[in-house]
Symmetry: none
DNA sequence: TATGAATGAGAGTTCATTCAT
DNA sequence: TATGAATGAACTCTCATTCAT
C-alpha cells in the first residue's frame, strides 16, 4: 500500500515525528531509534525512504523555506504601496514562523550539523529569500518612504534575527497571539525605517 | 606548577581551545579527545579540572553572561538621559558580542544540549539580564521618551534576537566594523521606540 | 515472457551482472540491490529466480566447473601419447581460466563465504576434477614418461595453484596472450615432470 | 599496566585471536564483537589500539611480508651457486608459509577487502618481494644455469601461485611434512627451469 | 597533577530476505 | 512474473567517562 494503518503515508509520518522530537530534544540528542519507535516502524523502514538521518533535517528545511518563499512572492506581487507590502510581509513571516515554530527552531539550532554541501545549499536558499526581502526595503528607500541611511541588508538581518529568536520566548497561549506579535514586529520594523531619525546622534561615517 | 610551558594556566587553555572548536564544529561534533589534543594534554588532565564536557560549555556561558552583565550595570549607572543610556547599552552589547563571537555562537547553538538543570540556570541568568535591559525601556516609556504601545519585553526580545543572529552574517573585515554595526543596531532600536508611530495601522488590541 | 527487452533471459542477465560485480568488488561488498539495479530489475524479480544471494555464487561455480570438466574429458579421450594429452589439458585449462577470469577470480576469493554444505559440494566437484587430472599424471608415471618421485597429487596441486593465481597478475592486452601463457605453463609442468631430475640434492627421506 | 592477566600485551593478543578467526571464518564473517570476546576485552579496548578492523588485516599482512622478506634477503646473501640459493629460497618460502598458514590464507582470501590505498601498498610490497625472487631466476638465466626461454616473472608467478594455494590442501599431520613439501616444490621449480627443455613443441613466439 | 588503557552503552547504517499485492 | 515496502538482526565505530598508577 505505502500507507500504514494510521492514515498517513509513512514518509510524512516519519517527518512529522522527527520534527517534533528534533524541536523537543535537539537533532543530535534524538536517536533514529526514538524516531522510528515514535512512528511505530523499524529502522529499515525509515532508511527505505530517507538515506540518512540528515535527510530528515534537509526535508524540514526545504519545507519551511519553500513555504516562506511562496508567501513572500505572493505578498510582493500585490498592487500596494511598498510600506504596506513590507508590513504585510513582515507580519506574515512572523505568523508563519510561529505556526511552524518547530521547523523554525530546528532550522536555527541544527543547521551547523548538516554536511558542508547541504549547509551551503540551505544557506544559498535562505540568502536568496533574504534578498527578496531586501528588495522591498531598497524599493522603499529609493522612493523616500524609508530612511536611506541604514544599509538595507543590515535592516533585514536585524529583523530576521528577531524572527529566528521567536522560538526562544514565544509561547502559544501566552499573553500575545501570533498575529499580535506579527503586528508588533512589523510595526517595529516600519518604525525603525521611518525617515527623520531621532535627534540623538546616529552613526556617522 | 599549575602552568604549562605555553604561559597560560591549563584550565584557561582548555577553555580557549574548547571555545574555538565548539564555535567551529559545534559542541557535539567536538570530541573530548580533540580538545585535549589541541591543548596538548591528555584526557585525565581535562577531567582533573572539569568534571564533564558540559562544564566547559557552562564556563563559556558564565564568562559571557558575567561580562555582559557587568558592562550593562556600568552603563545603567551613568547619569545620563535614558535614551542615551539605552543607546549606549545597545551599541555596547553588539560590540561585545562581536568581540566574543565564538562565545555568542556557541551560546546560541548549544544551549539546548545542556542538561535540564544547567539549562534552567543559564536561562535564568539570561532572563535576569534581559530584565535589566527591559527596565531601561520601561523607564523611558514612563518618561514618555519611548512609545508605550509596544510591550517592553517584546522590544527587548526583538533586539536580542538581532544580536544573537550576528554570528550568522557578521564577518570581521567585512563592509562594516563592529562599532558601525553597534551604532546602526542602537539606532534601529531607538528609532523603533520613538513616539508617534507611523501613520499606517499599527497593532490594535 | 521470460525475456526482457535486452534480448537475454533474466536469470542469465542477472548471473552475468553478478559475475561482473563479484569479480570487481567481491561477493560480500556487492549488495543484492546493486545487482538488481545493474540488471534493471527489482529485488523481487531476482528472488523469483534465485532463492538466495549464495545461489548466484553456486551457479557461477557450477558453470565454470562444468565447462572445465567437459573440456578435460574431451582432451583425455584423445588418442595421443600421455605427454601430449597432459600438455594439451594444461594449456587448455589456462586459456579457459583466462577466458573466464571473472569466474575464476570469484571462485578463489569467495568460496569460503559459501555455507558449509555448499562449500562441501563445490570442493567435492573440484576434487573430482583434480583427480581426473591426476590420473593423467599417474598414467605417465606408470609409463615412465614422467618422473615418479613426485607425488602426482602434489604436482597437480602445484599446477592448479599457479592457474588459480592467474587473476592476480594476468592482464588482457599485456605482454603475453592467453595462449602464450597456456603454452608456457604447460611447458613448465611438463618440464618439471621429466625424468632425470637435476643433479642438486632433491628431497630425500 | 598495558598487560592483561593472560601474560601477553593486548594488541598482540588481539592480533593472534583475529588471525585465528579470520583464517577460520573469513575476515568479513568475523565480527569485531567475536574478536574482542575471544580476547576477553571490550570493543573500546580494541579500537584503542586499532583504528579500524582493517588495521588488523594490515598488521597481519605486514607481519607476514616482513618475515618473508627478511628470510629471502638472508638466503640471497649466501655465497652459493644460484641454483642452490633459489632452491633454498623456494623451500624456505614454502616452509614459512606453512608455519604461518593462517596468515597466508588470510592474505589470499582477504586482500580484495582492503581499501584501495591499503591494497595498493600491500601489492607494492609483495611485488617488490617477487622482484627479488625474480632476480635470482634472471641471474641463473644469464649464467646459463636456467633455461632462458621462460620469462622469469612468469616462472615466479607460477611458483607463488602454488605457494599461495597451499592453504587449500595442506594439512598439518598429513602425509607430507612441511619440509617435504618445501623440498618437492623447490625440486619442481628447479626442474622446470633446467635447460634443454623437453622434445615436445614448446611455446613459440 | 597527570597519564592512558579500558569500559560500556549506544550511535547510525546496511542488507538479505519476506510478502501482500 | 514482478513489485517494493518493510523487517529484523547484525554491523562497524564513537565517545564520555573511570581508575589504577
Amino acid at each position: 500500500m505505502g500507507r500504514t494503518g494510521d492514515g498517513e503515508a509513512l514518509p510524512q509520518r516519519l517527518l512529522a515525528v522527527a520534527t517534533r522530537l528534533f524541536a523537543e530534544k535537539g537533532f543530535e540528542k534524538t536517536s533514529v531509534q526514538e524516531i522510528v519507535e515514535a512512528a511505530g516502524v523499524t529502522k529499515g523502514a525509515m532508511y527505505h525512504y530517507f538515506a540518512a538521518k540528515d535527510d530528515l533535517l534537509k526535508e524540514i528545511y526545504q519545507r519551511l523555506l519553500r513555504m516562506q518563499r511562496e508567501r513572500l512572492e505572493a505578498i510582493m506581487a500585490r498592487d500596494q504601496p511598498v510600506a504596506l507590502r513590507l508590513r504585510a510581509a513582515a507580519a506574515d513571516v512572523v505568523v508563519t514562523a510561529i505556526a511552524n515554530l518547530d521547523d523554525a527552531t530546528i532550522f536555527l539550532q541544527s543547521m551547523h550539523l548538516l554536511s558542508a554541501d547541504r549547509r551551503r545549499a540551505v544557506r544559498a536558499a535562505r540568502r536568496e529569500y533574504h534578498e527578496r526581502f531586501r528588495e522591498l526595503v531598497e524599493e522603499g528607500q529609493r522612493a523616500g518612504t524609508f530612511r536611506a541611511d541604514v544599509p538595507a541588508d543590515l535592516a533585514v538581518d536585524y529583523f530576521f534575527g528577531a524572527v529566528h529568536h521567536l522560538g526562544a520566548w514565544f509561547r502559544t497561549g501566552g499573553r500575545l497571539t501570533a498575529e499580535q506579535v506579527g503586528a508588533h514586529f512589523a510595526d517595529l520594523l516600519l518604525s525603525s525605517l521611518r525617515p527623520d531619525p531621532p535627534a540623538e546622534p546616529g552613526p556617522s561615517r
